[in-house]
């Protein structure tokens, strides 16, 4: 009898494990399917595959960099709505420094330093004055957008409709152009991802952050200081934002008030698309941002291709994309249903 019970419970554990693996692989499988469909459409229409793949990388890279850093914040069960504004602000300062010095290194360092400073300001103010993080970041969103807007308007070199600071010197444009390649962007992403994975999976930081996100009361009682790990999370997010801002400058060679305006919200979509719960905790994974970010961008591109001749297609693309997003999140969260409504 005991053996039967043991074997039954062993079967259940095995089944649960298989289920968990499937759930874990679902976002990756979705990315693979989306990618296959995208490539199929490109080839079937005799479009240029190389250019289209480059387009995907160019469109996704800033989002993925920012979202990868933001995983640390989301793991704690917190979130930062000012990531887009922070990207804009650090890119603004970065391009001013680059225009003045012509140094790529300084561009990257400035963007990272400014973004980390903004991120830390959020964290420190929130922790010193006991402010709710979400509202703090809402305030920061306004402040950073406005300051960046003022700087851009004051220093605008744009002949266009919106004020913008551009890199107009041809030598400097060549410098930026030299690193505006897919390989450089992929390298930056790979390096950052490796650092994040190391910190997240091979040091106590990740484990403790997951603990704090999953059960903050218990984690606190075991002596894990939320403020310390909160600061680390915001620093990592700041690095992601800084890298995203610098890469954006190398790509567009200008910064306008509209730069990165939808990044803040798209980060949520990317992370959830990648299979990570918004509440953070034990199921947090660094790769969620990469998988989710690319899935989201590829999905939008597929829909744009399929609906290219439909009137009002951008509306339809957004509706279908949102429905698929909700469907995927629903399927991915089937195993984690609770009796009461989630909050």
């Amino acid at each position: 009898m005991e053996e039967v019970l043991k074997s039954r419970s062993g079967d259940a554990v095995k089944k649960q494990k298989v289920k968990n693996i499937i759930i874990m692989l679902l976002p990756i499988a979705a990315l693979v399917v989306l990618f296959a469909v995208y490539v199929a459409i490109i080839l079937a229409n005799d479009y240029n595959l190389a250019i289209n793949l480059e387009t995907i990388v160019n469109q996704a890279i800033v989002l993925v960099l920012v979202a990868t850093g933001a995983i640390f914040i989301f793991t704690l069960g917190s979130f930062d709505i000012s990531l887009g504004a922070s990207t804009l602000f650090s890119a603004t300062v970065g391009i001013l420094v680059f225009n003045a010095t012509g140094s790529l290194l300084l561009l990257f360092l400035t963007c990272i330093a400014v973004a980390v400073a903004c991120s830390l300001l959020n964290s420190v103010l929130s922790s010193v004055f006991h402010l709710p993080m979400f509202v703090m970041t809402v305030a920061m969103l306004s402040v950073l957008t406005s300051i960046a807007g003022t700087i851009i308007t004051t220093n605008s070199t744009s002949a266009g409709a919106n004020p913008a600071i551009s890199v107009s010197d041809s030598v400097l444009r060549d410098i930026l152009g030299s690193v505006d390649t897919v390989w450089f962007k992929v390298l930056i992403l790979a390096l950052f991802a490796v650092v994040c994975i190391f910190v997240f999976n091979f040091t106590k930081v990740g484990r403790r952050q997951k603990f704090l996100g999953g059960n903050p009361v218990c984690a606190k009682m075991t002596g894990i200081p939320l403020s310390v790990y909160g600061i680390i999370a915001f620093v990592m997010a700041g690095i992601g934002v800084g890298l995203g801002a610098a890469v954006n400058v190398t790509y567009t060679m200008s910064v306008s008030t509209g730069t990165a305006s939808d990044i803040g919200m798209s980060v949520f979509i990317a992370i959830v698309f990648g299979g990570m719960p918004i509440s953070g905790g034990a199921r947090s994974r660094i790769y969620a941002a990469i998988v989710g970010g690319f899935s989201y961008i590829i999905l939008n591109n597929i829909l744009n291709l399929l609906l290219s001749s439909v009137d009002g297609r951008y509306g339809y693309v957004q509706i279908i994309s949102a429905v698929l997003f909700l469907a995927i999140v629903y399927v991915a969260s089937i195993n984690y249903r609770v009796k009461h409504l989630p909050r």
């Binding site: 004055f129 305030a139 009137d311 009002g312 957004q318």
Partner: protein, 361 residues
């Protein structure tokens, strides 16, 4: 004894009144001082007063809507998209029926409320069916509503549909938005403070699991909350259309989300006032204060002292300062009374004593 009770009641009444009116009074005083210093005046004509009431209605109703779900821990990013979608759909529907003729305003208002309520029901329904965190559901819903708005209009401005004499009344006659505020206030007060639905809402807000275990049905309560939010945001969409005389419909890629951010400061102010009276009254007073601030910004903008960027910074700083106050009230009080210096001195003495005792040992 009777005198004592009366004195106590009187004191209590005084504290409650002072607490309720403190923040709005502070706004009035500061705005008056700035006006005097800059040589400008606010609310100098009946049309400006009507604009003031209309904007107060927009802020107050958005704050009601934001606070309903946020108070229960449900982030709702779809509020702005609900307002835009209801305004666009109701404007098109009303125009197709009345062609901008008599009664267009009131008919559009009714449609806006109804379409907003349906949008809210969709949002709430999706939340309770999918059972995924509301922040995620609301992101998806916001994208869907923005997409539908774009499909309905192809992104073009809605102008002639909302430019008629009937709509103009809601912008130029102060009593119409005032009536809307009062009706919304009465409805929200009645629903949340005087019905079983409201009691259940409060119970669920304070203790979700316990409430469910006592038999409170969470699902219908949550859906009704979304329906009410939708109806409120539908009204906001209508008022914005009336005030701006056009509707900008190109709100793809989360272009509608910023609407909810404007309601954070009044929500916290209203919550603070609510401690002394009622939170709904607090939201109304906060809405009026914010509208007065908007009138001041307009005058300062005209004389070139402030622009939209500096306005956003001022509002964000006000939000942070108010939150610092709310979350550090005792410290602030000690700072004002000077008690904090005594506390610091005491703490320093204790540290010194502890050090000496360690050294002695």
């Amino acid at each position: 004894m009777g005198n004592l009770i009366n004195k106590h009641q009187l004191k209590n009444f005084g504290v409650r009144t002072a607490g309720t009116l403190a923040v709005p009074a502070l706004f009035v005083v500061v705005i008056f001082i700035i006006c005097a210093a800059q040589g400008v005046m606010v609310l100098t004509s009946s049309s400006l007063f009507a604009d003031f009431v209309c904007y107060a209605a927009i802020v107050t109703l958005t704050t009601f809507a934001l606070s309903i779900n946020l108070g229960s821990g449900r982030f709702d990013f779809s509020l702005g998209s609900m307002a835009t979608l209801s305004a666009v759909a109701s404007a098109q529907l009303t125009y197709s029926m009345l062609g901008g003729g008599a009664g267009s305003g009131i008919v559009m208002l009714v449609f806006s409320v109804l379409i907003g309520a349906v949008a809210g029901a969709f949002s709430g329904g999706l939340y309770v069916i999918l059972r995924i965190p509301p922040i995620i559901t609301s992101l998806g819903v916001a994208l869907i509503f923005e997409g539908i708005t774009f499909v309905l209009t192809n992104g073009t401005y809605i102008m002639s549909e909302v430019q008629n004499d009937s709509m103009t009344l809601f912008r130029t006659q102060w009593y119409l938005p005032a009536v809307i505020i009062l009706v919304a206030l009465a409805a929200v007060y009645f629903l949340f403070d005087r019905t079983k639905f409201g009691y259940d809402y409060k119970a669920l807000k304070e203790g979700q699991k316990v409430s469910i275990n006592t038999g409170i049905r969470e699902v219908p309560n949550a859906v009704w909350c979304y329906v009410i939010c939708g109806a409120l945001m539908g009204t906001v969409g209508f008022l914005q259309a009336a005030r701006n005389t056009y509707i900008s419909t190109n709100v793809l890629n989360f272009g509608s989300i910023s609407v909810m951010f404007t309601a954070f400061l009044p929500m916290f102010i209203g919550g603070f006032i609510g401690r002394f009276s009622n939170d709904k009254v607090g939201y109304l007073l906060a809405g009026l204060s914010m509208s007065l601030l908007n009138s001041l910004f307009a005058q300062l903008s005209l004389i070139g002292i402030i622009d939209s960027s500096s306005r956003a910074i001022v509002e964000a700083v006000l939000l942070v300062l108010f939150l610092i106050f709310l979350n550090n009230e005792q410290t602030c009080r000690d700072l004002v009374t000077g008690r904090i210096f005594k506390k610091w001195a005491e703490a320093a003495r204790e540290r010194k004593a502890a050090k000496h005792s360690r050294e002695d040992k």
